[in-house]
Structure formats: structure tokens, C-alpha cells
Symmetry: C2
Subunit: 150 residues, 2 copies
DNA sequence: ACAATATACTTATCATGATAAGCATATTAC
DNA sequence: GTAATATGCTTATCATGATAAGTATATTGT
């Protein structure tokens, strides 16, 4: 997360540019705005999720499982689609199992692996969460100008 | 952070739109891209900072202290400029003190508060870190198109 | 076949974000 | 002046990210 509430003005960036001439004022300004806006949106979404006893990561995991129609995924297959570490994935899957959103099935050919399926409760959670997720995003995106630094 | 490596294609978003008609495909697509790009940049910066035994937050704190020329700030004044919680601010300031980047001085009128000053070591750290910070941002921003989902 | 390596997942530990509650001091209301 | 409230910071505890190292099973090379 990028925590700075008020981004530096163009004047301030230009003063930094005098001390560090290789610094590109426009690029740095754009990057700070990118990080700040995304952080504000991520905050809103985190708040939305935690109000539903959920999290960004738990949400993305069940979206990914849900999107796969044919086969059941394993933890490492989900891991390839999300950049979190293995231990975080394992812990989060365990939490999803504990809250009965997913179940683990034996893998048919690899004793180390488990196949992961969404439960009806997990599917229902996803359906219940998606509308508010979109709404949160849209509320944020339609007021984006007001979060601008300049 | 937003962890999804491959953003949904327009077709996939349109399929969601059929299930959730109030969902605006363009806005949601833009928001996911915003979060993903910012997360990638934040990752790069985190990696840069941790290679220098530092962090985003420690960096922002010393930037803010450095920017203030006239008076020494207190923890709560820095807190107004950064959206982190009070305990995190207190802990991070303590870490900055332990590594001799800042010193606490008695507040002249409020016994609860402390005035915070950058040490020469803290100033030197900031000077040492800034060029690589800009470079990391610029390297990222100039390849932004390649991080695009579409 | 079997040793070496790779893969799937777990365990242990740390870092850094949060909230709730606490203490001391300041400020405000009367 | 003193009670009530607010403010500045700390302590305790939790959540959730990371890495390093461990176990079991699979795969590869010879």
C-alpha cells in the first residue's frame, strides 16, 4: 500500500528534479497517482470484504475456482494464477475449508496434491459478494477525479 | 495488494455482465488494471526498499520529516499526512530511532508529545535511497504497456 | 532400480498492517 | 477549580503478507 495522503505538487516534484536531474517529473507524478488511487480503492474493497468476513485473497481464490468449469484445481494450480507465496495459499485455503466454502478431495494420481471444489455455500458466498464488489468499484471509479493530487 | 496475475479478458467481463447487469464492464476493467499495475509497482518498490533494509512506510516518514524545513514534527502530525494507524506509526518511528535515522526531542509545551528530527544518518539514507527509488519507478513506468491485461 | 532432483504442501518464524483498550496529559465546560 | 472529554502515545493482540526449511511423493537420468 501507498500511504501518502497528499501527493507532492508539480512544483515540489520539480524541486526534487533539481536535486536529482535524472528523475522524470511526469513519470514519477503518474506513478505516485497510480499507487495512491489503487491504494484508496484497495482500502475500500478491503473494508467491503471484511464487512462480509472475507478478504481480497479469499475472494480471488473462489473466483478462480468458480471460473474453472471442467476440472477441479489443486493449490499449486491456483498459486500459478495469483502472486502470493505458497504458505499463504495453504493457510488461506485452510481457512476457506474451515468456513466450509471449499472442500478438499483426494487427487486421483498424486498423493501429495488435493483437488479443491467450491461447496454450495462457497458458490452462494461468491454470488452474494459480487454485486457489492462491483458497486464498490463503480462508486470509487466514478469519483476518481476527486482523488486526484493536482 | 491485488494478486491476480492475468486480468479477465473483455469477453469474460461481458459474461459476468450478463449475470450482473448493473456491472459496468469498462469501469471494472479499468479498476482491475489500476489495482494490478499499482500492485506490481508496489512489489518492485518493496523489493528495492527491503534490499536497503527499509520499507515504503519508513521511506515516506523520512521524506515527510525532511520536507518540513521550519519546525520539527510530532508523531501525530506525521500521522495526519499518512493513512496508517497510530500504533503502526509509533512502532515504525521506534524502529527508525533504533536504527538512528531519527531522534526524539522533548516537546516544549506538551509532555505527551515528542518532536522528531532526522539525524545526519537519516538524511544520508534518504539521499542514498532516492535515486534508486526514481529509477525503479521509471523502469516500471516505461514498460507499463507490457503489464497490460489485453 | 535407484540416486538425484523436482514438486506439493506444511511448519516455524518474522514483518507489518489493523483494532481495542490503557495511561498520562491537555483542553473544555460549567 | 474541577469534572468530563479529547489528544498523544503505548501495549496487547490479531490478521495476513513473506522466507526458510521440512516431509512426502513424483520424476528424471543413468
Amino acid at each position: 500500500m501507498f500511504f501518502l495522503k497528499e501527493l507532492p505538487t508539480r512544483e515540489i516534484l520539480e524541486r526534487y528534479h533539481e536535486r536529482f536531474p535524472e528523475m522524470n517529473v511526469d513519470m514519477v507524478g503518474d506513478a505516485l497517482l497510480l499507487m495512491r488511487q489503487a491504494s484508496l480503492l484497495l482500502r475500500q474493497l478491503d473494508e467491503y470484504f471484511s464487512g462480509h468476513d472475507f478478504s481480497q485473497l479469499r475472494f480471488l481464490i473462489i473466483v478462480i475456482i468458480d471460473r474453472e468449469q471442467e476440472t477441479l484445481l489443486t493449490a499449486s494450480e491456483i498459486l500459478k494464477k495469483l502472486d502470493v507465496s505458497g504458505p499463504v495459499m495453504a493457510r488461506t485455503l485452510k481457512a476457506l475449508e474451515a468456513s466450509q466454502m471449499i472442500v478438499f478431495h483426494e487427487h486421483e494420481s498424486d498423493k501429495r496434491a488435493k483437488r479443491i471444489a467450491l461447496t454450495p455455500k462457497g458458490k452462494a458466498k461468491l454470488q452474494a459478494i459480487l454485486p457489492g464488489y462491483y458497486e464498490t468499484i463503480e462508486r470509487f471509479m466514478s469519483t476518481l477525479g476527486q482523488h486526484d493530487a493536482s
